[in-house]
Symmetry: C2
Subunit: 387 residues, 2 copies
């Protein structure tokens, strides 16, 4: 008798990146506007630090503390105070192998089987996957037509079973940046209800037009119920290192430690040493790289003029994503496949992010150098005109 995978896993959507990655591999020469990566290189300090590592150092070869090495936690605490105005007194920082893991770890620590978690739609697909995997259910609050937070929709979604509200700013996939007022409102709602506000800040450094990034854990009333997630994947071009961290209220320390011990134990010692060297570079290092992304964003917006028949691109305020809406009622994954096979350009389907009305595509403009981005956008607009 042959066993099979479980039902819980059927609730979890197929990971879209590997599927589209396979189509790209099958169509050599495809330019990718699909994956969320940046085109610049990691800081030079990575090579220097690697060269100084002693593999027989117990901090490298033996298990480390669940939260992270003391020196690294101090660096992160310092960064949070200086850059995010987050005071870590009464909070605990936990280092994880990437920010996805930070989300899953917090979720398993706070949500029972059958509980609900509220996502703002369009949502980041890995958040939805984690909620289903944990045996919880997703509730959705649609954002406004320009992809900002709809506070009424969020308030209306807060049933008694909702354990947390998740916000992402700068947003993946819409590129929206939520202002202080809106995030404060969500945070206040969560505090009143006695539920958690999980805020994903992976793109904290990526804002355009001097728009300000805001961390809700900097709010005076946020201490007991606010969780913040950070990553070095995007900012320092180090997705392959798998390093992120969560900042949680201190009362969750024991719970998060249990999850960490069961899943990862601790982040790789080498990765922690590299993170210790990179994180202090902070926003100053990233700012120079992000300047070029602003040009990339303008190129995407200029591509609007080459679209036909009512296709639109919403203006990104941050991150490096734009949502392209096609007027025709077409199946978005089919459109993506045809764009790759016939026009050698890849984007992601909006349905992956929970966009179920109309045909919407996510364009990631961070991963290609500008001249290749230009070519990719020409292919994209040509493809959309002809499809």
């Amino acid at each position: 008798m042959r066993p099979t995978a479980c039902k819980r896993i059927e609730q979890v959507q197929d990971p879209v990146i590997p599927i589209i990655g396979a189509w790209i591999r099958d169509n050599p020469g495809t330019l990718s506007l699909a994956q969320g990566v940046v085109s610049y290189s990691p800081p030079d300090v990575v090579a220097e630090t690697l060269g100084s590592i002693d593999p027989s150092d117990p901090a490298i070869c033996r298990y480390g503390p669940a939260a992270g090495q003391d020196a690294l936690l101090e660096i992160i605490t310092d960064k949070l105070l200086k850059e995010n105005d987050i005071d870590c007194v009464g909070r605990q920082v936990f280092c994880t192998a990437g920010s996805n893991m930070a989300f899953l770890t917090v979720l398993l620590a706070i949500a029972n089987v059958g509980d609900e978690v509220l996502l703002v739609r369009p949502y980041y697909f890995n958040h939805q996957m984690a909620i289903e995997l944990a045996g919880c259910h997703c509730k959705y609050a649609d954002s406004t037509p320009d992809f900002q937070l709809d506070i009424d929709a969020i308030a209306n979604g807060l049933t008694d079973r909702v354990r947390a509200v998740v916000t992402v700013s700068p947003n993946n996939p819409s590129g929206a940046v939520y202002p202080r007022e809106a995030l404060s409102e969500v945070n206040r709602l969560c505090g009143e209800r006695g539920i958690y506000h999980i805020h994903d800040e992976a793109y904290e450094y990526f804002t355009f037009d001097d728009r300000e990034h805001f961390s809700p854990a900097s709010l005076p009333e946020s201490l007991e119920h606010t969780v913040s997630l950070f990553s070095i994947s995007k900012s320092f071009a180090m997705a392959g290192w798998r390093f992120g961290y969560a900042v949680v209220p201190e009362h969750l320390t024991a719970a998060v430690q249990k999850v960490q011990d069961t899943n990862l134990i601790s982040v790789s010692g080498v990765t922690q040493q590299i993170a210790s060297a990179v994180i202090p570079l902070g926003q100053a290092w990233c700012k120079q790289r992000i300047a070029a992304l602003s040009t990339a964003r303008d190129m995407v917006l200029a591509a609007r003029d080459h679209l036909s028949g009512g296709a639109t691109i919403c203006q990104p305020q941050g991150a490096f994503y734009a949502l392209l809406t096609l007027p025709a009622r077409r199946h978005d994954l089919d459109v993506v496949q045809q764009l790759i096979e016939r026009f050698k350009v890849a984007v992601l389907p909006g349905s992956t992010f929970g966009i179920n009305s109309g045909c919407v595509l996510r364009v990631s403009f961070g991963g290609l150098p500008l001249e290749r981005l230009e070519a990719a956008l020409a292919r994209l607009t040509a493809g959309i005109r002809e499809l």
Copy 2:
């Protein structure tokens, strides 16, 4: 209103290693027979490979395939065929950040909320924690008095809700090595029932007295229902790197990929390159280091003569653990705390491994060089005589 951690997390035991780690830190000079680590250093090839890494190589700085880099998967496939007689045709290898994660990943792919998983008691505590965390329930089958598999007990434990049987050989915490016949019986039972047999082989190289390690995935009938878990933490003294892998039936590929994408995405690129250099060293490299462990084992057995009043130590056949049973009905965690505070020697309490009758301690003899092991054992026997 202040939110709290969830009920699910209350089912998960407190991680014992951080608790005892804190007692050790509070009592400087304590010799540790607690954590499962080896005293030797990682292979020289680690430093060489680290020196050759280019941080801007996409294989290092960008996301990698969920299962692992092709070159590494090939190396692992080759190793499995040569050393474990496991043919990977019809199977998929998944690299994870440690073998704990490999277990949790497989569990989330195969078990629904409310399903049962059968553990052989004494069990490895992280397996029990993962099952509770996944919203599943543990069933237990006691092993025989000499810590071997009790096939009848396992067969009797197989209710309709049991999705998998977990075996660990060489065993943590007992040091038992399960013979081919017993593992084949368990594997056959699982096949007949249409459930999975998850076999943890983290200590595959650690056997004494020429005892043979057996991988049930080498059995001809094992293909559809057998999962094997491996680690480099113990064998190559690289626990701090967080690298392990699971070998799963091919029909689980899509399910495991979903979990991997939600949790880790992929193992750190640097870690994968290091693993690629280390794994081919294989059993040959480890054999020389493990020779010293055999002497350490003999020292533990010799310490039996210094115990009094009916305390016993069961002879380990593999791994680097021995179970020490005290005749008195005392609370094991209290004994552990007193051993640390009064005698400056640390061990783990048997209750952590599900041993609820009598007072049993796990002695890990892999982590100290021989002269310090001798001192630690003298403290341990003195402490047990006097407590």
